[in-house]
């Protein structure tokens, strides 16, 4: 007999709960530090551009490069 869509499917509920858990998952201390460092470097780019005169596109490119490097390092 096929599963009736009107009845509770425990597997489906478990999956949803797991994904809900993932959404609420706190970053580990190490990961928090990594992200805080990334943020600091983004802020630094903002600071350099605030007091410098190079364009918006260049700033966005620098932020993109920084995130790409972060992902590569992350593996």
């Amino acid at each position: 007999m096929s599963e009736d869509k009107n009845l509770i499917n425990l597997d489906e509920l478990s999956t949803i709960m797991r994904s809900a858990e993932e959404n609420f998952e706190e970053l580990s201390a190490q990961r928090m530090d990594d992200y805080d460092n990334l943020i600091k470097r983004i802020i630094l780019i903002e600071k350099v551009h605030k007091y410098g005169s190079s364009g918006f596109e260049k700033k966005i490119k620098e932020i993109e490069d920084l995130i790409e490097a972060f992902i590569k390092k992350e593996g």
Binding site: N6, L38, Y51
Partner: protein
Amino acid sequence: MNLIKLKTTNWRNFYGEHELDFSNKEDKHVTLIHGQNGTGKTTMLNAIKWCLYRTTPDFDKELKDVPNVEIAHWDTWDSKVENGKTIKTKPSDSGSIFKVELRFEHEGIEYRATREAHQKDMRGKAIAPGKDEFSLFQKSPLGDSKLISEPQSAISRILPQELSDYFLFSGETVGKILDSSLGDGNGYKNAVRDILGFTLSDAALKDLDTVLQKNTRKKNALIAADNLTKASGNKLITLNEDLTFIVDQLADLNKDYRVADKSYEDIKKEIEETGHEQEQLLGSQLRKKEKDRDDEIVRRQGFINEKIELIEKYGFAIFGAFLKKEVQPLKLAKFDGKLPAGVIDTFIEDLLKKHKCICDRELAAKTNEYNSVKALLDTANTSVIDDRLTKAFTATNLFSGRANKFISNLDRVSNQLETSDRLISSYSNAVDDLEKKLKGFGNKDVATLLANKRTLKNSCEILKEKIVSKKIILKRTRADIALIEKDIEKIKVNNPELEMRISFERVIKIAQKRLTINQEKYEKSARKTITKTVHTNMMDYSHNDYTANVDENFNVNLTVTDTDTIAAGAGQGTEMLSKLSFITSLISHSKLRKNAESSWAAPGTIAPFVIDAPFSEMDEDYQKSTLKFLPAQSHQLIIFLSNGQWREHYEDVIGDFIGKRYYYKNHIKPGGNLTQSKLPVKGIEYEVESDDWDKAHLGTSIVEIK
């Protein structure tokens, strides 16, 4: 930023060259300038503003109003009669230039800013505007000066013009700069956030959003280009277009709401100001009922938001997709005692009889749902049904704690909403009655205003509803996007570029979340510290027992401590005290961030406090208190103080902090009235006016008190 010296040439009533050196010593960081009313206290504050930004509150448009007025009207003071004709004597050449020079230090570097203009026509009142020239020099460690190529931009980076009002201001305008209802409603909060050092992190969040959007477009294009994910990719592109459209619509609606709300508040004030005594009494009752109703509407909105949040977050986390399908959660209580072992058939029949499924869904006869449940009786064996029901109740047990909490919260909010609706309806009826009575006075103006007010109120309500509904659509669209993206994640596509885009998105979202959490934490702690300082100041210095609270929009609210009621009409002096206290504690807090280079936030904006006439509306006690906390909460303080408001005993509270001190000497034209007033400072009485008006002594001059 620290001010070092102000030098003016032919600036308004300060003819010739004048200088003010500002004290920068750590323990004596106050410069006090005494002046009679009308002798140029605001003029010197304006000189600083004009030099840095070319604008002043009084004469920001026409350059012709800026120069020395006596030079502009030179014919009124220097003329001779020859052969029966009046011959005007041209003033000296120096009168053709007016200039302000400001020396200041910022982050260890000394700067010199100069703004000057030349008059083209020295004769008559109509002076040609001319062009002003602005230069900024930076002093090198070797002592020589380097001209900065984009001086105005450099000034904006040191102290942005929009923030300067919080550092260079007149006491009389402090209420205006702290009024969050002015402008677009966000300007004030943003300015406070800038002072607190949010500038760079706000910019980072905005830029991360730009990077995210760019990445999303690329990612969706890659998804749409892959055969395995093509359908989902196209849906994603459409949904993202919808999302951009909804966000724009929401921004427009918010803007419309702010405009309508502002007009509504204005018209309310206008109604207050019209009418005679009886009308005013009814008007005041009307205001009270309207306030009660509006407060209740705000409370009701809070309940709605709470309900939405409960369902969107908590409820969704528990019931997931089921909630999305609008299936009500299982209520265990409903089935208690109805499931004795071996009577599964009875249970199914019971469901069919009541036309309600176990999940509370309607089971209308002959529908697919009804037939499916009915089919269980005919086709399935008991153990399958038993097993399935066991699973269902295991699931329910699994979540029962959270589910029950969710349901009880939902019930509570729903009850609160009902009570709130009843209250709003009762207040609205009272408002209607009072409005009818007011209209009965036959005052056409009031009737028109009341009609306009009602229309505006309705517009506000409609706009509010539209905003709430748009926000729900926005959330749903985001949820739909998230669902499709989850589906795509399950499809194993061998595309490194796509994988990179997905990782990119994840990293940006986490970084944004982390940065926002940091900002919220810091903003909360800043608000707490500022509240504490303002509160302490109010407890120490206010005549009454007020509790000060700084709300999330950085408005200072005073409540009567014992009754916890809003301190309506606390008095202008008290309000002035609380506002000055707020500004100083804000700057004082910002000062703590001066060395915050290693932190995620920008160092706070630091600039001297230059306050003209800080004592507006204050009595002597408040004046003394202000002189006590202002030096304690600022790193450099420059006060232009009216002679009439100076008391010798103030020396006891501020004297020790004064590093530089001046008084204005007013040179009266021959035949003018000398008031004989003197300025008493530390036992010496200084002459603040003289009748030695000539070319060397025009208008006001500045004398240092050593």
